[in-house]
């Protein structure tokens, strides 16, 4: 049993919980995830680690109320328990000093990019964060993200905050400036996490510049230890398992079309269970 010690609604859609899980906190590294099961009848749900505290022995999870299980998880309050948490899982993000690193996130990906941005910063990189949100109300973690990077950009779909447009618009501007300047260089790495169309757009854009780009993939998983193959995806023409071979992959090599198609596998079932429990 894993006790929730703190719960906050970051906005109407997104919830942050801090959970006692000392062993996982001890081992956690940027880019890794856990699998949770709420109770006896629950499904196995992978969630990226948003933060951890080795001293206190807690992990932080931030999730969007997107489906049946995340909505149920959002109903748990501090003091209540999650029956199972397994982790940390997946390869940690490969963090080294590459000079300059762009961290690009969309939606709840803003929570997931924070440990990655922090790790690249600590490794001596100049870190630029570009965060996309549908609107101002849905934007999360602005303050702590600002504090973890050297430059910070926000885009919103409706222009209610930051720049109106997409994260790739900011990327374009930055790359254009670099192109025209004799003194600046393209980033050593662009790291992106968020909705599939966003990651795909980032990959398509940076491919033209041959800038190394990593995407943190979020396919459907069951065991998340390499056993079921539900999370398989095509990377560089070969099948890889996101749970044990990833979740970070060379974004230029990922078949994003297949990933979004596979993500829809259980759409009908998701609707059914949500309706029956409405």
């Amino acid at each position: 049993m894993f006790k929730i010690i703190k719960k906050e609604n970051l906005n109407n859609d997104i919830v942050r919980i801090t959970v006692e899980a000392a062993f996982i906190a001890q081992k956690a590294q940027a880019g890794q995830f856990v699998v949770i099961i709420i109770d006896e009848r629950g499904e196995r749900l992978p969630l990226t680690l948003a933060d951890w505290d080795k001293e206190v022995g807690t992990i932080t999870l931030i999730f969007q109320k997107a489906g049946f299980t995340t909505r149920r998880l959002a109903k748990l309050e501090a003091g209540q328990e999650i029956q199972h948490i397994l982790g940390p899982l997946g390869h940690p993000t490969e963090v080294k000093n590459l000079g300059q690193v762009y961290c690009v996130a969309g939606g709840v990906g803003a929570a997931e990019i924070y440990p990655v941005a922090r790790a690249f910063k600590q490794a001596g990189n100049r870190v630029i964060c570009i965060i996309g949100s549908r609107n101002k109300d849905l934007l999360i973690l602005e303050d702590i993200l600002r504090g973890s990077c050297d430059e910070f950009f926000i885009t919103t779909d409706d222009g209610s905050y930051g720049r109106q447009g997409l994260v790739t618009d900011v990327l374009k501007d930055l790359f254009t400036v670099i192109e025209k300047s004799a003194h600046t260089q393209y980033p050593g790495l662009v790291y992106c996490i968020g909705p599939v169309p966003m990651m795909r757009a980032v990959a398509d854009f940076t491919r033209g510049y041959s800038v190394k780009t990593i995407a943190s993939l979020n396919p459907i998983m069951v065991d998340a230890t390499g056993m079921c193959g539900a999370c398989r995806c095509h990377v560089a023409g070969k099948t890889a398992f996101a749970c044990v071979d990833g979740p970070d992959f060379d974004a230029h090599q990922v078949d994003f079309g297949e990933l979004s198609q596979r993500l829809k596998t259980f759409k009908q079932e998701e609707r059914r269970i949500s309706e029956e429990n409405a």
């Binding site: 081992k27 196995r44 390499g226 193959g229 198609q261 829809k264 259980f266 079932e269």
Partner: protein
């Protein structure tokens, strides 16, 4: 005549997930037990990978001494209710039974199951008394058949055993792989409870390598470890369309249904999306299980296997059960491509007919394609059940743990790996094999670990 266990009739059982074979009544068991000739040289014992004194336990059943019969079995086998159900007795003890010369061997499997079930339902579980008290802590990694057996044997020898499992439930392939109708999960739970009652501490949700490394375990006072993480990595065919939605590995399909209880969706939250027509690729027990699960979820099931029925690696009884239930066998058929329908999900399987040629390295006749025999098998769900490879995760992140080319872990004759004090056995060293051979490895490892500890740390202080 050999007594068979009664079964649920096929037309009934495909509507439920309850056990197919119903087990002997007391009188049936005693009648079958009295067929045993009590041979002096006991060929059946030599046919048993864990060496159960089979004539002795059968004699006790005949005399109505069920509890003692179970104690006799448990001297060698910690999971009799499981083995009685899923062991391929026809290739082991029953194959060498003297009565098999007339093709009517004693139904040893059903008798083993009878003794185990009798004790479970009458709450007569024997409690093992440790012969010694060794303080040494031993880690067993993976709670499938090999791990459970090794943990139980070590506990019986007086060691302090912690059993680590990455899933949320103990049992490994017994809970995620084998369906409820062949091995009820309550039975597995009872066997696990027995092993916990021996003093084994079970830690679920713990992935050794990630949550703790092997090094962490030794730093925390464990004196030896047994790696029994199995062959859980699903193989794929490498054909076009294999990653389409609607295509599952048998591991994913069975894990969803068996472990996560997707057949009770939405009461249980894990979904399964299955079409009207399921094609299952493979010819082993996993392929048969996947087909029979599909029937129970309301679909038709067509097995696609590239050799002939004679070469199918599945148990004869399970092939018979599957046919009775209406699984269509497409033998001598090789899938070459999975075709998407217009919505982009699996819609059919393009196959080519095969014929048998000369024997290959496995000694089985090699299947050879027949030119221009391509056809399309309509299927909206495709399940790939062509085998599993050893789990790569722990070897990959454990420095110094040597593996073979086929990714099995290298062990010496005492099952010790390239790291002193770290042993390994079961499918992770043999490649995918039976439950009972994994249990044999678990037993062997327990003996080897005891010997190792005594050599390393002296007789009494652990």
């Amino acid at each position: 005549m050999r007594n068979k266990t009664p079964q649920q009739p096929p037309e009934e059982r495909i509507k439920n997930f309850l056990e197919v074979a119903l087990g002997f009544s007391e009188s049936e068991a005693q009648e079958e037990a009295s067929r045993c000739l009590q041979c002096k040289n006991k060929p059946c014992v030599k046919g048993c990978p864990v060496g159960i004194d089979i004539p002795a336990f059968i004699k006790l059943i005949k005399e109505g001494r069920q509890k003692e019969a179970l104690e006799k079995i448990k001297e060698k086998n910690n999971l009799p209710a499981v083995c009685g159900r899923v062991c391929p007795q026809e290739n082991q003890c029953e194959a060498v039974c003297i009565l098999n010369k007339k093709k009517i061997p004693v139904n040893i499997g059903a008798l083993e199951r009878y003794a185990a079930d009798y004790a479970l339902t009458h709450k007569l579980q024997p409690t093992a008394n440790s012969r010694q008290n060794l303080a040494a802590k031993i880690a067993v990694v993976g709670s499938g058949p090999a791990g459970l057996t090794c943990a139980a044997d070590l506990a019986k020898r007086g060691f302090k055993v912690t059993l680590f499992e990455s899933l949320h439930t103990a049992g490994g392939v017994l809970v995620y792989g084998i369906p409820e109708f062949r091995l009820p999960k309550k039975i597995v739970q009872d066997e696990v409870d027995y092993i916990r009652n021996l003093g084994v501490e079970l830690k679920v949700d713990t992935l050794i390598g990630n949550t703790f490394t092997l090094e962490d375990l030794f730093k925390n006072g464990f004196k030896a470890a047994f790696i029994a993480v199995g062959a859980g990595l699903p193989q794929f065919l490498g054909i076009e369309g294999e990653n389409l939605p609607g295509v599952y590995s048998a591991n994913e399909f069975l894990t969803r249904v068996n472990l996560m209880k997707a057949y009770k969706f939405p009461e249980y939250a894990t979904p399964i999306n299955i079409g009207k027509r399921v094609a299952v690729i493979g010819g082993g027990n996993v392929a048969l299980d996947s087909s029979r699960v599909s029937l129970r979820l309301g679909s038709t099931a067509a097995l696609v296997y590239r050799r002939s029925e004679n070469e199918m690696p599945g148990r004869l009884e399970e092939i018979k059960n599957a046919k009775e239930e209406g699984v269509a066998l497409n033998i001598l058929t090789q899938p070459i491509r999975i075709i998407a329908d217009k919505t982009g999900v699996a819609g059919g399987l393009e196959c080519i007919k095969m014929q048998l040629g000369e024997p290959d390295t496995s000694g089985r006749k090699r299947p050879v394609p027949i030119e221009n025999s391509n056809f399309i098998l309509e299927a909206d769900t495709v399940i790939i059940a062509i085998g599993q490879n050893p789990n790569p995760l722990l070897p990959r992140i454990t420095p110094g743990l040597k593996t073979n080319k086929d990714r099995t872990i290298v062990v010496d004759e005492n099952l010790m790996t390239s790291i002193p004090g770290v042993f390994a056995g079961g499918d992770i060293t043999s490649g995918a094999d039976t439950v009972i051979s994994a249990m044999g490895a678990g037993k062997k490892a327990a003996l080897a670990i005891e010997k190792y500890i005594k050599e390393q740390h002296g007789q009494n202080n652990g």
